[in-house]
Each structure stands twice: as C-alpha cells, then as structure tokens.
C-alpha cells in the first residue's frame, strides 16, 4: 500500500498518510470549497489501510488551526470510521492545539465526548 501525501494550501491542511510507520497526520487550516471531495482520498486511504492491516497500532495526529463547518462534519465522519475499527486495532488520536486556541480545545473535547471508545489525547502544542 502506498503512502499518500497532500501538500498544504491556503485553505487545506498538509496531510501525510504513512503506511509503513502507521501514522496519519493532518496539520493546518481546513476550509475547502468542496470538503467532501477534498477528503475523499484520505477517507479511502484509511479504509484501505484497515483492510490491509491485521491488528496494528496507528497514531493519528490532528493539528487543525481553524476549520469550516463542513470540515467539522467531515472530521466527525472520520472519527466514526476510526471507531468502527477500534476493536481490531489500537488507535491513538492526538488532538494537538495551541494553548490560546480555545475553540480548537473545545472541538477536541467535543470529539472526546462523542467518541468515548476512542483514545483521544488533547495535546498542548
């Protein structure tokens, strides 16, 4: 399975999906015009990853500075996908935020509450 790397733009984050190292990282701003289309390859890659691995430990790093509402919905769907695979894999999610960025912290806390079965660490940058 190949890695997937997407370069950062002014309104989309830098995305690195690394198969060998079992890491996913999404860093930057997220307010694409067509959010669902933009993230489609990312969702596909993660689905394929879980189909290709047996019981693995994957770490996922989110560092989102700010985002639009459709990105919020998209991240929710992504967490949903992770939760579906949580029993057969060890998934560690790091929600990284700047101490001053209260809304990023609040977004992380909301995900913690919505996905109690997932390990979501709130990490100060």
């Amino acid at each position: 399975m190949n890695n997937l790397n997407i370069q950062e733009t002014k309104y989309t984050p830098k995305i690195d999906l690394d198969f060998e190292n079992n890491t996913v990282s999404i860093i930057g701003k997220s307010y694409p015009e067509n959010t669902f289309e933009f993230y489609e390859p990312v969702i596909k890659w993660i689905e394929e990853y879980f189909n290709n691995t047996e019981k693995d430990t994957i770490s996922i790093n989110f560092e989102i500075i700010y985002f639009n509402s459709s990105s919020s919905k998209l991240f929710f769907d992504l967490f949903d996908l992770l939760e579906e695979n949580n029993e057969t894999n060890t998934i560690v999610i790091n929600w990284i935020y700047d101490e001053e960025n209260e809304s990023a912290l609040e977004a992380g806390e909301d995900f913690q509450e919505d996905f109690e079965n997932l390990t979501i660490n709130l990490v100060i940058k």
Partner: protein, 185 residues
C-alpha cells in the same frame, strides 16, 4: 446592489477591517481570510478570538458563495453577489456581517434554523450542534447543514433580518458579534 446599504453598514460600526461587495469565489475568500489574518496579527488580537473571527468570516462568505451557486443551476436569475463586512467598535467588540439576495425557498430553509438557534442557550446550542453533526441530516447541503450552528457557537450574539424585494426574492442580512467583555451578552 445599492451602495447605500454598504454605507449604512459601515457607518454604524466604527473601524472597518474588511468590506467587500460583489461576486464571491473560493480564491477571493481565501485571499480575504489572509488579509484578516494579517490585520489580526498587526492588531495583536488573541488566537482564540481571531480564529473565531476567521471562522465566522469563512462560514458567512462560503454560505453566500453556495447560495448563489445553487441558484446558478436552478434559475435563470443569477445573483452571485453579496456584501461582507468585518468591523470593530470603539469598545473593541467585533462584528462580522453579510448581506445577500436569497430566494423564498432559501429563506424558508434558513429562518427556522436561526429561530431555533436564538431560542437556545450555550449548552443547548452545543448539544444541538453535536446532534446534527452526528445525525448526518442535511448532508446533501454543501455545508453539512450545521453552518449556522457553527456560526452561533463562535459568536456571542446574532441578529438577522429578511427584507422582501418581491414575491420570490429577499435581502438576507446577518450580523454576528464577538464581545470583548463576555458579560455584555
């Protein structure tokens, strides 16, 4: 669009950081967001507050972009224009507002959401936001259906009005406020 409308909006609210009237595209929205980032930086606005300003600006402007797009496909009457304004008053409160022309159908979609939002307190809003995000309802909409709820979460107060132009067309004006002193709410 009537230039007086812009002037009225500007005069009421002190220092204007950004005002734009016209056609909206993603490239423009992103360029204006960058300009706002620069302003926020130069004015020493804290990260928490400035990110809320950016999010409000992005939601309102992408909303306008999407409403004009849906009309592109469904009607010969294309009005891909809107006004957007970011300003600050002498106390340091921030205002992000927009105005555009929408159809009656859009109004019937937007108005119940805004009415519901106005009836909720902060906790109720948070709960409703998460419910809607979970249910995936309205996901056929570009914004995932939670845009106005996102807006409400990020600001301290919302005012809106619909002004009838004719049977099928309305001016939709929405003003969001971020208070420097949260007690003012």
């Amino acid at each position: 669009m009537n230039i007086n409308e812009i002037q009225n909006l500007v005069e009421r609210d002190g220092i204007v950081f950004l005002s734009y009237g016209g056609f909206l595209s993603q490239a423009l929205i992103s360029a204006m967001t960058e300009a706002l980032e620069k302003e926020a930086n130069e004015n020493g606005i804290g990260l928490g507050m400035s990110n809320n300003i950016f999010t409000l600006f992005i939601e309102l402007s992408q909303n306008m972009m999407n409403y004009s797009k849906s009309r592109d496909q469904n009607s010969a009457e294309v009005i891909p224009e809107g006004l957007i304004l970011v300003s600050k008053d002498e106390k340091g409160n921030y205002y992000i507002q927009s105005q555009n022309i929408i159809t009656l159908k859009d109004k019937d979609k937007i108005e119940p959401k805004l009415k519901e939002i106005q009836s909720l307190d902060k906790d109720g809003l948070k709960k409703r936001y998460r419910e809607l995000r979970r249910s995936g309802k309205n996901t056929h909409e570009k914004g995932g259906g939670i845009g106005f709820y996102e807006i409400a979460k990020r600001c301290d107060n919302i005012k809106y009005n619909f002004k009838k132009i004719n049977e099928n067309k309305y001016y939709f004006h929405i003003k969001t406020m971020i208070y420097i002193n949260k007690k003012e709410k």
